[in-house]
Amino acid sequence: MEISFRDLITVLHGMGFGALFMLAFSGAIGVIYATAVAGSQWAVPRGTATMFRFYLISMATLSWLAVLSGAYIIYPWYRAVAPAGTTDLSGYPRQLLLSSPLTAGWHELGMEWKEHIAWFTPIAMTMVAYVFIKYGPQLALHRQMRNAVLGFTAVAFFATAVAGGFGAFLNKYAPVRGGHEIILYTQH
């Protein structure tokens, strides 16, 4: 059982950073909402408070890792230009998609949207983590601030869902492959 280096990095980008981030969303909304609703009446142990902060900082970090690995490692592989006369475009995903009107939309809508919308998430989640750490239970006293935090969190969820969803489809129609093969498992 083997996997190419580029496949492995793509999996790390999508499943390691992106999917883990998506999984953390319900927890983040729960933490923000519960803290805000309970307000100053909610006395939580220092360890729990630290864990909440760590949780949101981890989410923000995951979102940064996802966009940075996507834009600066995988995207250059995706948009690589094939030498003139190349007939096998399997190593050039963007050109492969654009070579047929049946698949061009995956680039023109999917990748064009994904490559930008994903960046709303780290901006939003960094702000959310900062506000939560700064105010904690005092968010209950600032209803408008709580609404903004939850609103930006929801937009971050939407942006990640769009980027992740199109990422999965793009990798199905024009996978980013290449690099040396890594053997994960050998059957004896």
Partner: protein
């Protein structure tokens, strides 16, 4: 047992600064992405790292705008209470502008394609 409670109520300025800056950064991302796609010269100017093309400059510029805005607003509102309702309206308006300008069908419509 220690708690998260803080008896001193913090001013809303620092939080408002973070929220408005996030809106400004999001709006800037949309404007830069649209401009890079609509105008070839702008697109070329945004190519900071050729392997990633204009995306490298578009996102870097948006992040710089976001962080500069955050820094400036934080200093301005460090110990103040501001109208969060107005801040939210402005932040979400810019966020929506950013989202629309990065949605290819909408951007194509604006460009008349």
């Amino acid at each position: 047992m220690q708690s998260m409670r803080d008896p001193i109520q913090l001013p809303n300025g620092p939080g408002a600064a973070a929220i408005l800056a996030a809106g400004i950064g999001s709006g800037a991302l949309g404007v830069f992405a649209f401009a890079a796609d609509a105008f070839r010269a702008v697109g070329r100017a945004f190519v900071i790292w050729p392997p990633s093309g204009p995306l490298s400059g578009v996102t870097l510029a948006a992040i710089v705008v976001w962080l500069v805005a955050w820094f400036g607003l934080s200093r301005l509102w460090a110990s103040r209470d501001v109208s969060l309702a107005r801040v939210n309206v402005a932040a979400f308006a810019m966020l929506i502008v950013g989202l629309l300008l990065t949605f290819p069908p909408f951007a194509d419509l604006l460009r008349g394609r």
